[in-house]
Amino acid sequence: MRKLSRDLAHALAAEYVVGTLRGRARRRFEAFIAADPAVEAIVREWERGLTPLAARVKPVEPPARVWKAIESRIGATAPASRGAWTSLGFWRSFGLLAGGVASVLLAAFLFISSGPRGEPVFVAVLTAPDSSPRMVVSMHSPNLLRVRTIKPWKDTADKSLELWVLPKEGAPRSLGLLVSGDTMIRIEPTDPRVIGANALAVSLEPAGGSPTKQPTGPVLCSGVIAPVRKA
Protein backbone atom coordinates (compact mmCIF):
# COMPACT_ATOMS: atom_id res chain seq x y z
CA MET A 1 0.00 0.00 0.00
CA ARG A 2 1.46 3.34 -0.99
CA LYS A 3 1.94 5.99 1.64
CA LEU A 4 -0.35 9.02 1.66
CA SER A 5 1.18 12.47 1.79
CA ARG A 6 0.31 14.38 4.95
CA ASP A 7 -1.84 16.87 3.06
CA LEU A 8 -3.72 14.17 1.20
CA ALA A 9 -4.20 12.22 4.43
CA HIS A 10 -5.65 15.35 6.03
CA ALA A 11 -7.96 16.03 3.09
CA LEU A 12 -9.25 12.45 3.08
CA ALA A 13 -9.48 12.23 6.88
CA ALA A 14 -11.53 15.43 7.00
CA GLU A 15 -14.02 14.14 4.43
CA TYR A 16 -14.05 10.78 6.15
CA VAL A 17 -15.01 12.36 9.47
CA VAL A 18 -17.49 14.78 7.90
CA GLY A 19 -18.99 11.82 6.07
CA THR A 20 -18.63 12.87 2.44
CA LEU A 21 -16.00 10.24 1.69
CA ARG A 22 -18.21 7.45 0.45
CA GLY A 23 -18.37 4.04 -1.07
CA ARG A 24 -15.19 2.42 -2.28
CA ALA A 25 -13.12 5.49 -1.45
CA ARG A 26 -14.26 5.26 2.16
CA ARG A 27 -13.45 1.56 2.35
CA ARG A 28 -10.03 2.13 0.82
CA PHE A 29 -9.30 4.94 3.23
CA GLU A 30 -10.33 2.70 6.13
CA ALA A 31 -7.65 0.29 4.94
CA PHE A 32 -5.13 3.14 5.11
CA ILE A 33 -6.31 3.98 8.64
CA ALA A 34 -5.84 0.39 9.72
CA ALA A 35 -2.43 0.10 8.08
CA ASP A 36 -0.83 3.41 9.00
CA PRO A 37 -0.85 4.78 12.57
CA ALA A 38 0.05 8.23 11.23
CA VAL A 39 -3.13 8.26 9.13
CA GLU A 40 -5.14 7.01 12.07
CA ALA A 41 -3.73 9.82 14.21
CA ILE A 42 -4.84 12.36 11.62
CA VAL A 43 -8.36 10.91 11.63
CA ARG A 44 -8.42 11.18 15.42
CA GLU A 45 -7.36 14.82 15.15
CA TRP A 46 -10.27 15.54 12.84
CA GLU A 47 -12.64 13.68 15.14
CA ARG A 48 -11.43 15.79 18.04
CA GLY A 49 -11.77 18.89 15.91
CA LEU A 50 -15.25 18.28 14.56
CA THR A 51 -17.04 16.06 17.07
CA PRO A 52 -17.71 18.88 19.56
CA LEU A 53 -20.34 19.92 17.01
CA ALA A 54 -22.18 16.68 17.68
CA ALA A 55 -22.39 17.55 21.36
CA ARG A 56 -24.65 20.47 20.45
CA VAL A 57 -27.33 18.25 19.01
CA LYS A 58 -30.38 18.26 21.26
CA PRO A 59 -30.50 14.94 23.15
CA VAL A 60 -33.25 12.48 22.26
CA GLU A 61 -34.12 9.69 24.66
CA PRO A 62 -33.96 6.25 23.03
CA PRO A 63 -36.60 3.66 24.02
CA ALA A 64 -35.77 1.15 26.75
CA ARG A 65 -35.80 -1.74 24.27
CA VAL A 66 -32.45 -0.59 22.87
CA TRP A 67 -30.65 -1.29 26.12
CA LYS A 68 -32.51 -4.59 26.50
CA ALA A 69 -31.25 -5.62 23.06
CA ILE A 70 -27.69 -4.52 23.87
CA GLU A 71 -27.75 -6.45 27.14
CA SER A 72 -28.93 -9.62 25.49
CA ARG A 73 -26.35 -9.30 22.73
CA ILE A 74 -23.37 -8.79 25.01
CA GLY A 75 -24.64 -11.58 27.21
CA ALA A 76 -25.33 -13.90 24.30
CA THR A 77 -21.67 -14.89 24.23
CA ALA A 78 -22.02 -16.58 27.62
CA PRO A 79 -22.05 -20.34 27.43
CA ALA A 80 -23.08 -21.28 30.97
CA SER A 81 -21.50 -24.69 31.17
CA ARG A 82 -19.35 -25.67 28.25
CA GLY A 83 -15.83 -24.36 27.94
CA ALA A 84 -16.41 -22.23 30.96
CA TRP A 85 -12.79 -21.77 31.90
CA THR A 86 -11.77 -20.51 28.53
CA SER A 87 -14.69 -18.31 27.61
CA LEU A 88 -14.46 -14.59 28.17
CA GLY A 89 -18.22 -14.44 27.75
CA PHE A 90 -18.55 -16.78 30.69
CA TRP A 91 -16.58 -14.47 32.91
CA ARG A 92 -18.38 -11.45 31.66
CA SER A 93 -21.70 -13.16 32.12
CA PHE A 94 -21.11 -13.25 35.83
CA GLY A 95 -20.88 -9.53 35.96
CA LEU A 96 -18.01 -8.40 38.08
CA LEU A 97 -20.30 -7.16 40.78
CA ALA A 98 -22.90 -9.91 40.70
CA GLY A 99 -23.53 -12.23 43.58
CA GLY A 100 -22.55 -15.86 43.77
CA VAL A 101 -19.25 -17.25 42.79
CA ALA A 102 -17.92 -14.13 41.14
CA SER A 103 -18.31 -12.01 44.23
CA VAL A 104 -15.89 -14.10 46.24
CA LEU A 105 -13.29 -11.52 46.98
CA LEU A 106 -9.57 -11.65 46.62
CA ALA A 107 -9.08 -10.52 50.18
CA ALA A 108 -11.20 -13.40 51.42
CA PHE A 109 -9.00 -15.83 49.53
CA LEU A 110 -5.93 -14.27 50.98
CA PHE A 111 -7.31 -14.94 54.46
CA ILE A 112 -8.28 -18.52 53.69
CA SER A 113 -4.82 -19.23 52.26
CA SER A 114 -4.40 -22.64 50.71
CA GLY A 115 -6.97 -25.39 50.57
CA PRO A 116 -6.75 -29.06 51.45
CA ARG A 117 -3.66 -30.91 50.24
CA GLY A 118 -2.06 -27.60 49.36
CA GLU A 119 -4.23 -26.98 46.34
CA PRO A 120 -4.61 -23.41 45.32
CA VAL A 121 -7.79 -21.93 46.76
CA PHE A 122 -8.54 -19.93 43.72
CA VAL A 123 -7.60 -19.78 40.14
CA ALA A 124 -8.36 -16.86 37.90
CA VAL A 125 -8.04 -17.69 34.25
CA LEU A 126 -7.33 -14.48 32.37
CA THR A 127 -8.61 -14.61 28.84
CA ALA A 128 -7.85 -12.40 25.86
CA PRO A 129 -10.64 -10.59 23.99
CA ASP A 130 -10.74 -13.51 21.55
CA SER A 131 -11.57 -15.73 24.56
CA SER A 132 -8.30 -17.65 24.48
CA PRO A 133 -6.80 -18.27 27.93
CA ARG A 134 -3.51 -16.41 28.27
CA MET A 135 -2.62 -16.36 31.96
CA VAL A 136 -3.52 -18.19 35.14
CA VAL A 137 -3.37 -16.47 38.50
CA SER A 138 -3.50 -18.71 41.54
CA MET A 139 -3.20 -18.38 45.28
CA HIS A 140 -0.68 -20.75 46.78
CA SER A 141 0.19 -19.54 50.23
CA PRO A 142 -1.31 -17.03 52.64
CA ASN A 143 0.20 -14.09 50.88
CA LEU A 144 1.62 -15.27 47.59
CA LEU A 145 -0.03 -14.92 44.20
CA ARG A 146 1.40 -16.88 41.32
CA VAL A 147 0.93 -15.62 37.78
CA ARG A 148 1.71 -18.06 34.97
CA THR A 149 1.73 -17.27 31.29
CA ILE A 150 -0.03 -19.84 29.15
CA LYS A 151 0.70 -18.19 25.87
CA PRO A 152 3.05 -15.21 25.71
CA TRP A 153 2.45 -12.17 23.55
CA LYS A 154 4.63 -11.19 20.65
CA ASP A 155 6.23 -7.77 20.31
CA THR A 156 6.23 -6.95 24.01
CA ALA A 157 10.02 -6.79 24.35
CA ASP A 158 10.16 -3.03 24.90
CA LYS A 159 6.95 -2.95 26.94
CA SER A 160 5.81 -4.06 30.37
CA LEU A 161 2.84 -6.20 31.35
CA GLU A 162 1.08 -4.84 34.42
CA LEU A 163 -1.33 -6.74 36.64
CA TRP A 164 -4.38 -4.91 37.97
CA VAL A 165 -7.05 -5.74 40.52
CA LEU A 166 -10.51 -4.39 39.97
CA PRO A 167 -12.24 -3.08 43.07
CA LYS A 168 -16.00 -2.87 43.44
CA GLU A 169 -15.92 0.88 43.07
CA GLY A 170 -13.30 3.15 41.61
CA ALA A 171 -10.31 2.68 39.41
CA PRO A 172 -8.14 -0.41 38.93
CA ARG A 173 -5.17 -0.78 41.28
CA SER A 174 -1.79 -2.05 40.19
CA LEU A 175 -0.35 -5.21 41.69
CA GLY A 176 2.90 -4.68 39.83
CA LEU A 177 4.68 -5.70 36.67
CA LEU A 178 4.84 -9.24 35.35
CA VAL A 179 8.03 -10.89 34.19
CA SER A 180 8.13 -13.43 31.43
CA GLY A 181 7.33 -16.94 32.62
CA ASP A 182 6.11 -17.04 36.21
CA THR A 183 5.72 -14.08 38.52
CA MET A 184 5.25 -14.37 42.27
CA ILE A 185 3.57 -11.41 43.94
CA ARG A 186 3.45 -11.04 47.68
CA ILE A 187 0.19 -9.53 48.93
CA GLU A 188 -0.96 -9.17 52.50
CA PRO A 189 -4.69 -9.82 53.09
CA THR A 190 -4.93 -6.39 54.69
CA ASP A 191 -3.49 -4.68 51.61
CA PRO A 192 -6.02 -1.95 50.72
CA ARG A 193 -5.56 -2.76 47.03
CA VAL A 194 -7.22 -6.13 47.39
CA ILE A 195 -10.13 -5.16 49.63
CA GLY A 196 -13.31 -5.63 47.63
CA ALA A 197 -11.46 -6.76 44.53
CA ASN A 198 -12.97 -9.58 42.53
CA ALA A 199 -11.37 -9.47 39.12
CA LEU A 200 -7.93 -9.23 37.61
CA ALA A 201 -6.66 -7.81 34.37
CA VAL A 202 -3.33 -7.40 32.60
CA SER A 203 -2.59 -4.38 30.44
CA LEU A 204 0.26 -3.58 28.09
CA GLU A 205 2.20 -0.58 29.37
CA PRO A 206 5.35 1.36 28.50
CA ALA A 207 8.54 -0.21 29.85
CA GLY A 208 8.57 0.27 33.60
CA GLY A 209 4.81 0.29 33.94
CA SER A 210 1.97 2.76 33.59
CA PRO A 211 3.19 6.33 34.07
CA THR A 212 -0.24 7.38 35.34
CA LYS A 213 -0.88 4.62 37.90
CA GLN A 214 -3.90 3.69 35.77
CA PRO A 215 -3.99 1.29 32.83
CA THR A 216 -3.03 3.24 29.72
CA GLY A 217 -2.47 0.47 27.21
CA PRO A 218 -4.84 -2.15 25.86
CA VAL A 219 -6.16 -4.81 28.21
CA LEU A 220 -4.45 -8.02 27.12
CA CYS A 221 -6.48 -10.38 29.25
CA SER A 222 -8.85 -10.38 32.19
CA GLY A 223 -10.92 -12.67 34.37
CA VAL A 224 -12.90 -12.85 37.57
CA ILE A 225 -11.61 -14.54 40.68
CA ALA A 226 -13.37 -17.83 41.34
CA PRO A 227 -12.75 -20.73 43.71
CA VAL A 228 -11.35 -23.97 42.41
CA ARG A 229 -14.29 -26.21 41.65
CA LYS A 230 -14.66 -29.49 43.41
CA ALA A 231 -14.74 -32.25 40.83
Binding site: A14, G19, R56, V57, P59, E61, P62, R65, I74, G95
Partner: protein
Protein backbone atom coordinates in the same frame (compact mmCIF):
# COMPACT_ATOMS: atom_id res chain seq x y z
CA UNK B 1 -5.67 20.69 28.59
CA UNK B 2 -7.40 19.74 31.78
CA UNK B 3 -9.69 16.80 31.69
CA UNK B 4 -13.10 17.39 33.10
CA UNK B 5 -14.47 15.14 35.84
CA UNK B 6 -17.30 13.96 33.60
CA UNK B 7 -14.98 12.81 30.85
CA UNK B 8 -12.70 11.25 33.43
CA UNK B 9 -15.61 9.28 34.81
CA UNK B 10 -16.58 8.09 31.33
CA UNK B 11 -12.98 7.07 30.66
CA UNK B 12 -12.97 5.10 33.89
CA UNK B 13 -16.25 3.40 32.91
CA UNK B 14 -14.79 2.50 29.53
CA UNK B 15 -11.74 1.05 31.26
CA UNK B 16 -13.96 -1.09 33.44
CA UNK B 17 -16.15 -2.16 30.54
CA UNK B 18 -12.96 -3.30 28.80
CA UNK B 19 -12.47 -5.93 31.47
CA UNK B 20 -16.09 -7.03 31.47
CA UNK B 21 -17.75 -4.82 34.08
CA UNK B 22 -21.39 -4.76 32.95
CA UNK B 23 -22.52 -2.38 35.65
CA UNK B 24 -19.96 0.19 34.53
CA UNK B 25 -21.08 -0.37 30.95
CA UNK B 26 -24.70 0.26 31.92
CA UNK B 27 -23.68 3.52 33.58
CA UNK B 28 -21.76 4.48 30.46
CA UNK B 29 -24.85 3.83 28.37
CA UNK B 30 -27.09 5.85 30.67
CA UNK B 31 -24.70 8.79 30.62
CA UNK B 32 -24.40 8.99 26.83
CA UNK B 33 -27.42 7.31 25.23
CA UNK B 34 -29.63 10.37 24.60
CA UNK B 35 -26.81 12.40 23.06
CA UNK B 36 -25.60 9.57 20.85
CA UNK B 37 -29.14 8.60 19.85
CA UNK B 38 -29.75 12.19 18.74
CA UNK B 39 -26.51 12.24 16.73
CA UNK B 40 -27.55 9.09 14.89
CA UNK B 41 -31.18 10.17 14.44
CA UNK B 42 -30.08 13.31 12.61
CA UNK B 43 -28.10 11.25 10.14
CA UNK B 44 -30.32 8.22 9.59
CA UNK B 45 -33.60 10.17 10.12
CA UNK B 46 -35.66 7.17 11.16
CA UNK B 47 -36.09 6.16 14.76
CA UNK B 48 -35.96 2.45 14.03
CA UNK B 49 -32.68 2.88 12.14
CA UNK B 50 -31.24 5.09 14.88
CA UNK B 51 -32.17 2.44 17.43
CA UNK B 52 -30.36 -0.15 15.37
CA UNK B 53 -27.31 2.10 15.14
CA UNK B 54 -27.28 2.77 18.87
CA UNK B 55 -27.59 -0.93 19.61
CA UNK B 56 -24.82 -1.94 17.21
CA UNK B 57 -22.60 0.90 18.39
CA UNK B 58 -22.83 -0.08 22.03
CA UNK B 59 -22.18 -3.73 21.27
CA UNK B 60 -19.11 -2.50 19.39
CA UNK B 61 -18.13 -0.20 22.28
CA UNK B 62 -18.41 -3.18 24.66
CA UNK B 63 -16.23 -5.31 22.41
CA UNK B 64 -13.64 -2.62 21.73
CA UNK B 65 -13.60 -0.70 25.01
CA UNK B 66 -10.05 -1.98 25.48
CA UNK B 67 -8.95 0.00 22.44
CA UNK B 68 -10.16 3.28 23.88
CA UNK B 69 -6.98 3.94 25.87
CA UNK B 70 -5.03 4.19 22.63
CA UNK B 71 -7.41 6.60 20.95
CA UNK B 72 -6.14 9.61 22.95
CA UNK B 73 -9.50 11.33 22.55
CA UNK B 74 -12.21 12.31 25.01
CA UNK B 75 -14.58 9.37 25.61
CA UNK B 76 -17.49 11.27 24.06
CA UNK B 77 -15.43 11.93 20.95
CA UNK B 78 -14.42 8.31 20.63
CA UNK B 79 -17.97 7.06 21.13
CA UNK B 80 -19.51 9.69 18.83
CA UNK B 81 -17.13 8.64 16.07
CA UNK B 82 -18.32 5.04 16.40
CA UNK B 83 -21.97 6.11 16.27
CA UNK B 84 -21.39 8.47 13.34
CA UNK B 85 -19.51 5.86 11.33
CA UNK B 86 -22.22 3.30 11.85
CA UNK B 87 -24.90 5.83 11.02
CA UNK B 88 -23.14 6.62 7.75
CA UNK B 89 -22.97 2.90 6.98
CA UNK B 90 -26.72 2.64 7.48
CA UNK B 91 -27.34 5.71 5.31
CA UNK B 92 -25.32 4.16 2.54
CA UNK B 93 -27.35 0.99 2.81
CA UNK B 94 -30.81 2.51 3.07
CA UNK B 95 -30.96 5.95 1.52
CA UNK B 96 -30.71 6.94 -2.07
CA UNK B 97 -32.60 10.15 -2.56
CA UNK B 98 -31.98 13.35 -0.63
CA UNK B 99 -34.75 14.31 1.71
CA UNK B 100 -33.77 17.17 3.93
CA UNK B 101 -35.92 19.77 5.53
CA UNK B 102 -34.74 23.19 4.40
CA UNK B 103 -35.07 24.56 7.89
CA UNK B 104 -32.46 22.12 9.07
CA UNK B 105 -30.00 23.39 6.53
CA UNK B 106 -29.98 26.85 8.05
CA UNK B 107 -29.37 25.58 11.56
CA UNK B 108 -25.82 24.61 12.07
CA UNK B 109 -26.46 23.65 15.66
CA UNK B 110 -29.50 23.40 17.82
CA UNK B 111 -29.20 26.36 20.14
CA UNK B 112 -31.85 24.96 22.42
CA UNK B 113 -29.57 22.04 23.16
CA UNK B 114 -28.70 21.43 26.75
CA UNK B 115 -25.47 23.17 27.67
CA UNK B 116 -22.54 20.82 27.50
CA UNK B 117 -21.19 19.73 30.80
CA UNK B 118 -17.63 19.48 29.73
CA UNK B 119 -15.62 22.66 29.96
CA UNK B 120 -13.02 21.28 27.64
CA UNK B 121 -15.50 20.41 24.97
CA UNK B 122 -17.12 23.80 25.36
CA UNK B 123 -13.77 25.45 24.73
CA UNK B 124 -13.12 23.22 21.73
CA UNK B 125 -16.61 23.82 20.41
CA UNK B 126 -16.08 27.53 20.87
CA UNK B 127 -12.98 27.65 18.71
CA UNK B 128 -14.62 25.29 16.26
CA UNK B 129 -17.54 27.68 15.95
CA UNK B 130 -15.18 30.59 15.53
CA UNK B 131 -13.43 28.72 12.78
CA UNK B 132 -16.71 27.80 11.11
CA UNK B 133 -17.62 31.48 11.19
CA UNK B 134 -14.54 32.22 9.14
CA UNK B 135 -15.77 30.01 6.32
CA UNK B 136 -17.86 31.24 3.44
CA UNK B 137 -21.56 30.63 3.99
CA UNK B 138 -21.84 27.92 1.36
CA UNK B 139 -18.76 26.13 2.63
CA UNK B 140 -20.12 26.20 6.16
CA UNK B 141 -23.56 25.06 5.11
CA UNK B 142 -22.22 22.19 3.02
CA UNK B 143 -19.96 20.91 5.78
CA UNK B 144 -22.73 21.17 8.36
CA UNK B 145 -25.27 19.37 6.19
CA UNK B 146 -22.83 16.58 5.52
CA UNK B 147 -21.76 16.32 9.14
CA UNK B 148 -25.15 16.49 10.83
CA UNK B 149 -27.33 14.83 8.25
CA UNK B 150 -24.98 12.46 6.53
CA UNK B 151 -25.51 13.93 3.06
CA UNK B 152 -23.25 12.75 0.27
CA UNK B 153 -21.70 15.08 -2.30
CA UNK B 154 -24.46 14.37 -4.80
CA UNK B 155 -27.19 14.70 -2.18
CA UNK B 156 -25.69 18.05 -1.21
CA UNK B 157 -25.61 19.12 -4.83
CA UNK B 158 -29.28 18.26 -5.22
CA UNK B 159 -30.25 19.92 -1.99
CA UNK B 160 -28.26 23.11 -2.51
CA UNK B 161 -29.03 23.21 -6.27
CA UNK B 162 -25.37 23.51 -7.13
CA UNK B 163 -23.22 21.54 -9.58
CA UNK B 164 -21.54 18.53 -8.02
CA UNK B 165 -18.06 19.92 -8.71
CA UNK B 166 -18.89 23.17 -6.95
CA UNK B 167 -20.14 21.35 -3.87
CA UNK B 168 -17.03 19.19 -3.75
CA UNK B 169 -14.85 22.28 -3.98
CA UNK B 170 -16.79 24.03 -1.21
CA UNK B 171 -16.30 21.10 1.10
CA UNK B 172 -12.65 20.63 0.25
CA UNK B 173 -11.72 24.29 0.57
CA UNK B 174 -13.85 24.71 3.66
CA UNK B 175 -12.14 21.81 5.40
CA UNK B 176 -8.73 23.11 4.36
CA UNK B 177 -9.53 26.47 5.94
CA UNK B 178 -10.91 24.74 9.00
CA UNK B 179 -7.72 22.76 9.42
CA UNK B 180 -5.67 25.92 9.21
CA UNK B 181 -7.94 27.75 11.68
CA UNK B 182 -8.19 24.91 14.21
CA UNK B 183 -4.43 24.57 14.20
CA UNK B 184 -4.08 28.30 14.79
CA UNK B 185 -6.51 28.45 17.72
CA UNK B 186 -4.86 25.45 19.30
CA UNK B 187 -8.22 23.64 19.44
CA UNK B 188 -6.45 20.65 18.04
CA UNK B 189 -2.82 20.08 18.74
CA UNK B 190 -0.42 19.18 15.96
CA UNK B 191 -2.98 19.96 13.30
Amino acid sequence: MTTDAGQKRLAELLGRAAIGDRKAFAELYDATRSQLFAVSLRIVRERSLAEEVLQDSFVSIWNHAGDYAQAKSAPTTWMSAIVRNRSLDVVRRTRETPDVDDALAANLVDESAAPMREAEERAEAHSLHQCLEELEAEQRQSIALAFFHGLSHSELAGHLRRPLGTVKTHIRRGLLKLRECLGRTGAVERF
